[in-house]
Symmetry: C2
């Protein structure tokens, strides 16, 4: 720790202790909040009892998730209700009747069907979000559906987490949440609550965790049960591997984006270098508020409307779309330095930072490998129509250059949007809506938009302020 700190060891220890004590106090649910959530849960269980009274195939109901693990944050309370079916129940019956039953049990609380790795029902009672998840009641490793591991996670955590651990999990979750790293959903691509629990079991305290994370190496394996070497082979290119103790063929960090992992490591080092309470309250990585001219002038914003859909599907489609657009802008001669996305309430924005919005005049085309006689001959015939000359590249592929037919990044986007799915792999689920509602803004015009989603995408684009 001394490596990172400019303070004397004693002062650091003192202030650290005070900081973590203060955070722990804030994130521990009060007795009244516990009572409130328990009472919600009683009503939910009663609902399930009424609903199952009349069905033939009766699942057993078990409470899980952070509430059952006693690692929940008072400001953000999720309760999982597992509906465990015997494995004899057919898959089709299981999927249909499980969701119907949950809808009936939660009928008074506007239940909504959702889909992450598996289908489930979400409802909201007072400040509590209830997720009812059908799964099979199977022994460890005998998974029949994606949700079957969850009750085992609960059993595992209930057995392993001490009171001390629980307080530390809450501190870690609060840190992750304040820094935008909390949640495995596609929108965030960060760390799940369960991953935070496993990390705490591994390192013991929040302070040990940040100390270790600051020193992680590429391909780091975090395992409670050994098997590090096997895990490294299994997840060969993963920068971080957090093994699920309940299923050591699963990497709990696989949903974490490299960007979020890098930020976690950076923030761990920052916290150790100068520990502060603010890490648990405000984002330490702050977007640039007014980007310099050379960034503003080279920014491109594509925005469009979309029809309401599940967040996981929406963000999956948006990332695919942004990636396809960036890839094709590159292919057509631009240098895309970065792209960001934003979406809310039917409005989506994709922002690009490009080294220059003007296209180079000379467009470069690389033909096939000289050893593919037929393909080379076809390429030459087609290239001759828009180029004057060719040469042999040092990779043994034929090269041509032609005059570019688009002049700016805006021209290119406009061209793509005539057939966005076929041209750039725009997500099919967004394309129709996008074609009829899209808009491209370049440079200062993009920055003058007042739309929240535009401003969010642009706010991220320029990156974080130094210091």
């Amino acid at each position: 720790m001394r490596r990172y700190s400019h303070l004397s060891a004693e002062v650091t220890a003192l202030s650290l202790e005070a900081i973590l004590k203060r955070v722990a106090g804030e994130v521990t649910p009060s007795a009244s909040r516990r009572r409130a959530v328990s009472s919600v849960l009683e009503r939910v269980i009663a609902g399930f009892e009424r609903a199952t009274a009349t069905v033939k195939v009766k699942p057993s109901i078990r409470v899980g998730g952070s509430f059952a693990h006693d690692t929940w944050l008072p400001t953000d309370t999720d309760v999982d209700v597992f509906m465990l079916y015997p494995k004899e129940v057919e898959r089709e019956e299981f999927e249909r009747s499980g969701l119907e039953l949950a809808e009936r049990a939660l009928a008074d609380h506007s239940p909504v069907r959702r889909y992450a790795e598996h289908p489930y029902i979400e409802a909201r009672l007072d400040q509590v979000i209830v997720n009812a998840v059908p799964c099979y009641d199977v022994p460890r490793g005998g998974w029949l559906s994606a949700a079957d591991r969850s009750p085992h996670h609960t059993s595992y955590m209930q057995a392993k987490l001490t009171e001390g651990h629980k307080a530390q999990v809450r501190i870690l979750k609060q840190f992750m949440r304040a820094q935008g790293l909390y949640g495995a959903e596609i929108k965030v691509r960060g760390f799940s609550g369960y991953a935070c629990e496993v990390l705490t079991l591994k390192y013991g305290t929040f302070l040990s965790f940040v100390t270790e994370a600051a020193r992680w190496s590429r391909g780091q394996v975090v395992s409670l049960e050994g098997g590090e070497e096997r895990a490294s082979l299994l997840f060969r290119d993963a920068p971080l591997i957090i093994l699920d103790p309940v299923d050591t063929t699963r990497n709990l960090a696989s949903a974490v984006s490299p960007e979020k992992l890098g930020e976690l490591i950076f923030l761990s080092r920052s916290f150790l270098a100068s520990p502060s309470y603010s890490f648990f309250r405000e984002r330490k990585l702050k977007p640039l508020d007014s980007p310099p001219r050379h960034i503003v002038d080279n920014t491109l914003l594509l925005r469009f409307d979309y029809r309401d859909k599940s967040e996981d599907i929406l963000w999956g489609e948006l990332w695919k779309t942004a990636e396809g657009l960036a890839k094709h802008l590159e292919k057509d001669g631009l240098h895309v330095l970065r792209y960001t996305i934003s979406a809310r309430e039917g409005r989506a924005a994709v922002a690009f930072l490009i080294s220059s919005l003007d296209l180079p005049e000379v467009l470069y085309r690389r033909g096939p490998d000289i050893f593919m006689a037929e393909a080379v001959s076809n390429f030459m015939a087609s290239a001759a129509r828009c180029s004057d000359s060719w040469w042999m590249g040092d990779d043994l592929r034929v090269r041509t250059v032609a005059r570019a037919d688009a002049h700016t990044a805006v021209d290119l986007i406009t061209k793509y949007m005539k057939n966005p799915v076929g041209t750039v792999g725009f997500a099919r689920g967004l394309a129709d809506d996008a074609i009829s509602t899209y808009d491209v803004l370049a440079g200062p015009r993009a920055y003058s938009s007042r739309r929240a989603t535009d401003r969010e995408a642009l706010g991220q684009l320029a990156g974080y302020r130094f210091g």
Copy 2:
């Protein structure tokens, strides 16, 4: 063959026969030319006899190369004279006294010291170039110096080449020469005469050779002695492997540039598609004579003077220099599509085709891997001085952008030339001369130069005409 030809099989066979007969007639030395070269050789041998009369360590003299193989072209006659030393002679003695002896033997014919893979003496008598090469008299595989294989090449070819083969070797050499593919020296990076002999022994006739070369696959092994699999492992990334039958750990194609190999394959297909006598007389790959505006406008020419030096050293230095410059132009944000070089009589030119000569306004910097704590921290501190923000890349490296401080490719070259060796790896042997004589011309100004070397480099830059 039918695959490549639009002519009927009969007409093709007829015209092919006539073409190859005509070429064979032209490349077979006449009786008078043979007598002339033999008489040169007699004078050379006599010179060696006189010179060795007085020395203690006497090498035995043996004639080799294309003249001894009887595969020489009448217009381009090289005679190799090997000076074979017993292996007991010390390396130092061998190097010094061998060259001195050859200089004395050829004293009347302006002998020059040269260096390719090994040192040798070159002299010119009438139209004949004589290369006197000291080497050790060792059995196959017992090589003590780089030249020791050569007498074995002569023995091998004298034993294997039939009269029929010799005529076919000459046709192949003439094809290679007319197409700019002949010669293994760094300036050409093509096929040596010996490689042409091995290819002819393998495929029997010129026609079989082009038929096979048109169909070669990547990593093709040409071997007279088997061992293809071992060769593929030994030269794993080589696109073409021509095993030296005298030393099967040597790839005779290793000096061939990918560009020249690709051109050979392309030309083989072209010849088969429409066979013509002109393939043996004029270059079929013709440079574009007047490049279109978008090429002219995006061309950069750096020219400078150099002090006389051996061709192999000069061209090695020029390629290194051009490569270093191209790499740094890329690093500084330009997209270098191609570069070419030219040099003659103290004047050198390096030409670049760039997708735009104007630099992008935004300069991109990629920092170290996030796992390298110290390096990341140093990078951030240094980046903060010229940038406003940073972000985490999906490769887990920190990124920044800054405003570029140079505006055009000419600015960049001018900057590099303040310290060309340190900045861009400019060849040390050229740098001093270049710093005091260089000149950068962009776009139409470059094309208006009348200097032969400038025009040559620019002529190659735009590539070959279609069709």
